[in-house]
């Protein structure tokens, strides 16, 4: 049951592989649950053989995911089978405030649910990702000054009061990591390092298939690994953090004198069109990221490094230098250097992770009754 819930849809044979149960047992369980209306099966084919595709029945409800970025917000709705039904992006002002942001998210969510002819009562849970460390137990932003206008805000409390649905909050890079492991580039991997390189730099650690949060939610904050003791002061208050070398404002400032006013997307587009200045800025960012990621890899030796966020759209321009430095600086292993891949879910990774968290925490009435 939870296996189907985590992966959205899979065949009975795969289900047997994942759960470790015998195919006959799986078949019996699936039949039983189908009769009860919890699962839905459809004939399909897998490597040329007939198979049964198993998904959760749709009438079980909806879950919602919200991702606040530095300059935009994304809201998605999915059914309990991980199928995204509606998704909407909205640009946000710089330094947006928690009250206005959460208000817009709540309004947008309500309108999207209504446009599906559903009611808010059908939404079982909401997952929210914010670009700052979050104490997942309290839903409170765990640091001060990282996300101006959001300091000390209990996101889950504010939003729950607004929409009356259970809200689960996490750091956006953690959610991106979760989404890549469940649905994206890192499917099947157990230990994964996810880097989110957009306006800021975030990181998510996945250990044994679970997101690692640490003591108070600041685990994986790779953007604040020190690269230069005497470097510039970072928004976190330390000096020479990775983010002061590869954060979008820094990259854009480097190009301001020669290229004028650009956005991060302009830089990526121009780099892909061969602009040498923009290529250089992105490949240097790759070098810095590689150096920081190498430290993390030396500590926990992941199977895979997934690079997401907007800058990852630059592809090889960013990833090649990153791979080179990472291979240089990690302990040589007989297994060879760690693989570095680009995110598969792209800009949607974080919101898909938010959906996954909402789904995990959703009290699906059927599942509780049947499994119990």
């Amino acid at each position: 049951m939870s296996a189907v819930q985590q992966r959205g849809s899979l065949t009975q044979v795969e289900l047997a592989g994942v759960t470790g149960l015998s195919p006959a047992t799986v078949s019996n369980i699936v039949k039983e649950l189908t009769v009860l209306g919890v699962l839905h099966t459809a004939p399909t084919s897998r490597s040329g053989r007939r198979a049964q595709q198993v998904t959760l029945a749709r009438n079980l409800g909806l879950v919602a995911g919200v991702h606040f970025g530095t300059r935009s917000m994304r809201v998605a709705l999915s059914d309990v089978a991980h199928r995204v039904i509606a998704e909407q992006r909205m640009p946000l002002p710089p330094d947006h405030r928690a009250d206005a942001g959460l208000d817009r998210a709540a309004l947008l969510l309500t309108e999207m649910v209504e446009s599906l002819d559903a009611s808010m009562g059908e939404v079982l849970a909401v997952g929210v990702g914010v670009p700052a460390p979050v104490d997942v137990r309290t839903g409170r932003i765990a640091t001060v000054g990282m996300l101006r206008g959001w300091d000390g805000v209990s996101v889950s409390e504010v939003l729950e009061r607004r929409i009356g649905i259970p809200v689960h909050v996490d750091n956006d890079a953690n959610l991106g990591a979760l989404a890549e492991v469940r649905l994206g580039a890192a499917r099947g991997a157990r230990h994964v390092l996810y880097l989110k390189v957009s306006h800021g730099v975030g990181g998510g650690l996945v250990l044994n298939g679970e997101v690692f949060h640490g003591r108070s939610g600041t685990a994986g904050e790779i953007g604040h690994v020190t690269l230069d003791d005497n470097g510039p002061i970072c928004r976190c208050g330390n000096r020479g953090c990775l983010e002061t070398f590869v954060g979008a404002p820094v990259l854009l400032a480097m190009l301001a004198a020669s290229h004028g006013h650009l956005t991060l997307r302009d830089v990526i587009t121009r780099a892909q069109d061969g602009d040498p200045g923009c290529r250089r800025v992105i490949s240097d960012a790759g070098l810095h990221l590689g150096a920081a990621a190498a430290n993390v890899c030396n500590v926990f030796d992941p199977e895979l490094v997934v690079v997401g966020g907007q800058l990852a759209e630059a592809g090889a321009i960013l990833l090649d230098p990153l791979r080179t430095v990472l291979a240089q600086r990690t302990v040589p292993s007989t297994a060879g250097p760690v693989d570095v891949v680009a995110s598969e879910l792209g800009a949607s990774a974080e919101v898909r992770g938010a959906l996954a968290v909402a789904l995990d925490r959703a009290a699906i009435a059927g599942s509780v009754a049947v499994v119990g």
């Binding site: 909407q88 640009p91 002002p93 309004l107 301001a256 004028g260 650009l262």
Partner: protein, 289 residues
């Protein structure tokens, strides 16, 4: 980065005794969203009218690529590559999407309308804007506000204008539609258009603009870099709590290709004593609902 497509120099416009615009300068560059904000009656719509050729200024110069031009009619403006979308979108509710987009500029083959070519081009335009329109053959009246706005913008994109003026594109829209229109403006910018966004929604303007020009009582009351300007500074300029934020000097000398000074409003703040202190800000918030 690039030079201006369109420059307004010392534009003034009066309606009888009402001075709607007084000595207004505005630079519009390609690949950039410049927002014009201001209170009711600050002259925003008059400015849109002047740029789009609907209004003829009493004084001042309009330069296109550095050459003086006369934008005496909307058609003249269009022929110079300036298109405008006004608040109501000026669409015919009973006509379908294709008919609306091509109204008055139909594609013909011999003497007949080339419906196939028009429909294809309509889909291309809407596709580039990533607009979600269910069908191009349904009456515009059946579309949502955001979709109608997308059709109105697609219509203005015919003939590849270099400058696009959007007058209050998000007023009277719900939040989903606002989100769509804002994303649309970002894509217009990516396509390389110079976009003039006229709005009084501070949140919408800050979300997509590169540069924000504040109009107050017909005068330019400051020009700000959108990324580094706070909501409070904008409100202060709109309400007049700060006045005379630095006017740009002779544009060609002062700006060039150099980096834009991030803290342009800085000096003004220092000149007006007490402006940055607490008590004024709450007032400013109350003035603007």
């Amino acid at each position: 980065m690039n030079g201006s497509v369109l420059s307004l120099r010392g534009i003034s416009k009066s309606y009888g005794a009402v001075r709607a615009l007084v000595d207004v300068d505005l630079e519009i560059r390609p690949h950039e969203v410049v927002a014009v904000i201001g209170d009711n009656g600050a002259g925003k719509s008059t400015l849109a009218g002047v740029i789009s050729g609907a209004l003829v200024p009493d004084a001042g110069q309009v330069l296109l690529d550095g050459q003086p031009v006369s934008l005496s009619t909307p058609a003249a403006a269009r022929s110079h590559g300036i298109a405008a979308v006004f608040q109501d979108g000026a669409l015919c509710a009973n006509l379908d999407v294709v008919e609306n987009i091509f109204l008055g500029q139909e594609v013909t083959r011999a003497v007949l309308l080339d419906e196939v070519a028009m429909e294809k081009q309509a889909w291309t335009l809407l596709g580039q804007l990533a607009a979600r329109v269910p069908s191009v053959r349904i009456p515009v009246g059946a579309l949502s506000g955001g979709q109608r706005q997308a059709v109105a913008i697609a219509r203005s994109l015919l003939g590849e204008p270099r400058v696009l003026v959007l007058d209050e594109p998000t007023s009277a829209l719900g939040i989903t539609q606002t989100a769509e229109v804002l994303s649309l403006i970002e894509r217009l910018r990516e396509r390389g258009h110079g976009v003039v966004l006229i709005s009084h929604s501070m949140a919408d303007v800050q979300a997509v603009a590169d540069r924000i020009v504040v109009l107050r009582l017909g005068r330019v009351n400051g020009e700000f870099d959108a990324a580094s300007t706070s909501y409070e500074d904008l409100i202060a300029a709109v309400t007049g709590a700060t006045s005379g934020a630095p006017r740009r000097g002779a544009p060609d000398v002062a700006r060039g290709d150099g980096p834009r000074p991030a803290a342009r409003p800085g000096p003004a703040r220092a000149e007006v004593p007490g402006r940055a202190d607490g008590p004024r800000r709450p007032d400013a918030h109350e003035v603007i609902p």
